[in-house]
Amino acid sequence: MNLLITFTQANSFPFPFGFGNSGAEEFLKSNGENIRRPENSRSEDKPILSKATITVIGENGKNRFNEFKEYQNGWYGGKGKKISKSSVFTFEQFIKSLPELKRANPSIFLSLEGNLSLGWEDKNGLSIEVEFYPDKMEYFIESLDEESEVKLSNLFELTEKIRKLLK
């Protein structure tokens, strides 16, 4: 059966690419979204970012992302995996729930597992790092001496914690 993503609000879920991740689907279901995959979607389609996300990560972040999505499986001596569309989905949801992050001018990175991550400094100049897995986020908050993970369905627990630390 073909699936297509429908939106409850215009621009509500900015992920114009196919995905087949259960974590992402669970998240959408838990948020009352009707999930359908675009009929013409192909697994080799490259992910693109929403305008809202580009606004937060800036031109430098956009350029880095555009480079990351060209990496092939096997980058870094055979160890690196190409960018995970499901990670991009998680990343987009995080940014969408924390648009104030723009003020921190965060940096975007790509892990060997193909996950995007973000790094920036909080209001005290201490480091925050979040890595976006298909179904969870791993994070490190230096000012709280906290290193843990949250499921995508509990995204707001993390964004609320981080919001208090933003500049």
């Binding site: 060209e70 980058w75 001596g77 690196g80 990175f109 790509l110």
Partner: protein, 135 residues
């Protein structure tokens, strides 16, 4: 059979990919000193010097049409071990083991799990060398 450990007197370097160093903001990702398989590759400066290693890094690690090694992070093994031992959240005994490879006789491996917080601490202590041949 366990591999010989590298002396605390030695200095090692870790090859740094463009994906982990945002040169515009000068921020570094913890991926620089973490490996999900607990097999972090480093190279020994007592075996090969940095220019020799950069040649190897580019040959062995620039394996995508774009995205390259842009630098290396250097640290003394004894200092690295001290950072691990004194890391309050999760004190970690760090060892650096000889692991010469055909393409890189200076190759060594750190087999411990390095947490994200510890990696950030180590990265803050690295001496960064930018590859002058990379724009």
């Amino acid at each position: 059979m366990s591999r010989p450990q590298i002396s605390s007197e030695e200095n090692i370097v870790r090859a740094i990919h463009k994906a982990w160093w945002d040169e515009q903001t000068n921020r570094k990702d913890s991926s620089i000193f973490r490996d999900s398989r607990n097999k972090l590759s480093v190279s020994r400066l007592s075996i090969l010097n940095l220019p020799e290693l950069f040649v190897i890094f580019h040959k062995e690690l620039d394996t995508s049409p774009n995205g390259v090694i842009i630098g290396a992070g250097e640290i003394n093994v004894g200092h690295l071990q001290k950072i691990g031992k004194e890391f309050l959240d999760n004190p970690t005994i760090i060892t650096v083991e000889e692991d010469p490879m055909e393409g890189n006789p200076a190759h060594a491996e750190i087999p411990q799990k390095i947490s994200r917080g510890l990696a950030k601490k180590i990265i803050s202590e690295l001496l960064f060398h930018k590859d002058k041949n990379i724009d």
